[in-house]
Amino acid sequence: MVTHATAREDHPAVQKAPFRARLSRIDVKASPYLYISPFFIVFAVIGLFPIIYTAYISTRKWNSIAGDLGVAAAYGQSGETSWYGNFAWVLANHDFRDALFNTFSIFILSSVPQIIAAIVLASILSANLRARTFWRMGVLLPYVIAPMAAGIIFRQMFADETGVVNIVLQQIGISPISWHGNTLASHIAIACIINFRWTGYNTLVLLAAMQAIPNEVIEAAVVDGAGRARQLLSVVLPMIRPTLMFVIITSTIAGLQVFDEPQLFSISQSFGGSDNQFLTVTQFLWKTGFTSTSDSNMSRAAAVAWILFIIVVVFAILSYVLTSRIASTGGPDKPKRGRKGASR
């Protein structure tokens, strides 16, 4: 920078000047690295190292008590070893397949209605409302209810005999639904928990993007005779596409890892339901690693973690591609904007 040259001119007569100048140059060169290094050092310890270590563990036979017991046992052949033995075990496991299905089902049931609701709510909130801060805070209130608490609350609301949902259903003459026993019903109930907490948050994210749309663009659509639905579909949605993709991708990443809600939704100790009705992949990871006593419990859990990671990455990319397709058919837009949204 220019700055240290000026600094030297301020003290021309002092003998120390060359030394100070050199010090200042070192300061300028080294400081950027010094400032980012605390973050990277801590991150290496608590973020990077565990990821690499997970990969290593997943190829071993690793028990939570005994530790490393050598290379993983090959799946289905006793006495043999193979580095991908744990992965084969996981992929062939029936509980894991159930968990995979449930996770996708809950993910779809939570994210699709949630994003549609968030778009509608955001477009209502973007109008010139009275008491707008009140409404904005209102939709955000569930965000401060911990997923754990929400899980317990909805478990009670959807309780098979004592829950308010079934009581109301009976009052209006519909036979009660087995919210914990039935697979689809339990997925809907768990999706309700997720939607309860996140719809308002996503509404505000989308609202911010909608308010950044220049007024002239909307006015032009109005002049051209577009109704409110047409405005939303053909003007607003294409213009908030980067943010929309951000919302979709973050809810994909979070939705595929769902744990708290189904865990607390479970009655008594049958986590994930008595017949895996709502066991998710992360719950399966926990059951495999932290409740099973198999001699490779930790390494199998590590294998689940990596499989989940790959699924998350694939789906994040997939939803990126899908949304850019869908959104780009809605109206004119610049392809450049999409990339910005994905990089977040």
Binding site: F49, A127, L129, V139, A159, R344
Partner: protein, 310 residues
């Protein structure tokens, strides 16, 4: 909003161009009101919002309602009426939860994480946003990339390491993985890039400030609004985090109570008595609800600012 700024106000038009022009301006303004930002929404919009507000509030009210009923009458349909046992149940849950210790531990853990995330992120974010150094681009891409990594991926080895260091069952184990977040660095970088002019940094340097003094006297004050929002969000995220504390504390939940885990331990011990569990849920949710009423505006502003800048 931006268009309104470039057009002179009706009153100003009256002064500059006379009453006729002012009437025309008012008419024009009225027409703009019909569209976009300016349009006044009809009753349907309010009805939808009231409906959404009610279904957001109902589960919270339901918690209080169940907590207030006697165990025997829980099965009856109560409409919206409250029972008479609320304070009994709250008092019992308060004792069973070891509320004050759980609150203290939770506040401690969440504040430590919030402080540390803000400190590390401001330092790194300043460097990324305003200083030039080799490798800046790739390192920033790396930071952004790591935001997509699922927390579950790191749970297994972190647990192994923590048990090797015999840290499982301690608050240290809960705090450690929350000390830094890639999101925090990204957030501060984005903010400082826009909010801190190079001129200010250069002025400080010309005045003879060392790099670190420049950071403390110029960057830190400029970063304050974003830093407080980051602290708020990290605090809430850590407070509501369940998965890692659940693994790290494990069976020590009685000795090291945390509010997020506490209601869970209540349900393990007393899963027959749902009235008590709901009282526990109400108690453990209360601190964040209070925080929401104090800092809700900042939360709304923070979410909306993040959406625009990110």
């Amino acid at each position: 909003m931006s268009s309104a700024r470039s057009v002179p106000s009706v009153a100003l038009t009256r002064q500059l161009a006379g009453p006729g022009a002012a009437r025309a301006a008012a008419r024009r303004r009225g027409r703009i009101r019909q569209t976009g930002e300016g349009r006044r929404p009809g009753p349907v919009s309010y009805a939808v919002l009231v409906f959404i507000l009610l279904i957001s509030l109902y589960p919270i009210y339901y918690t209080v309602q169940i907590a207030s009923t006697a165990k025997e009458t829980m099965h009856d349909f109560m409409g919206l009426s409250l029972g008479s046992n609320l304070f009994d149940h709250l008092a019992t849950a308060f004792k069973e939860l070891n509320f004050w210790r759980a609150l203290r531990n939770t506040v401690l853990v969440s504040s430590l994480c919030a402080l540390s995330v803000v400190a590390f992120s401001t330092l790194a974010g300043y460097s990324f946003a305003k200083l030039r150094f080799r490798g800046r681009g790739p390192l920033m891409v790396f930071v952004v990339g790591t935001m997509a990594i699922p927390t579950q991926l790191t749970a297994v080895p972190l647990f192994i390491v923590m048990s090797k260091l015999s840290l499982t069952g301690t608050l240290t184990a809960v705090v450690l993985p929350g000390l830094v977040t890639a999101f925090g660095v990204f957030w501060m970088t984005q903010y400082l890039e826009a909010a801190l002019p190079y001129e200010l940094i250069e002025a400080a340097r010309v005045d003879g400030c060392s790099m670190i003094r420049t950071f403390f006297h110029v960057a830190v004050p400029a970063a304050r609004p974003a830093a407080s929002m980051l602290a708020l969000f990290t605090f809430i995220a850590q407070w509501t985090n369940y998965y890692w504390p659940f693994l790290a504390i494990g069976t020590a939940a009685q000795r090291k109570p945390l509010l997020t885990l506490a209601a869970g331990t209540l349900s393990a011990g007393h899963y027959q008595d749902n009235t008590l569990i709901m009282a526990g849920v109400a108690l453990t949710s209360l601190p964040l609800i209070i925080l929401f009423f104090v800092a809700g505006k900042q939360l709304v502003a923070g979410i909306m600012a993040g959406a625009v800048k990110g």
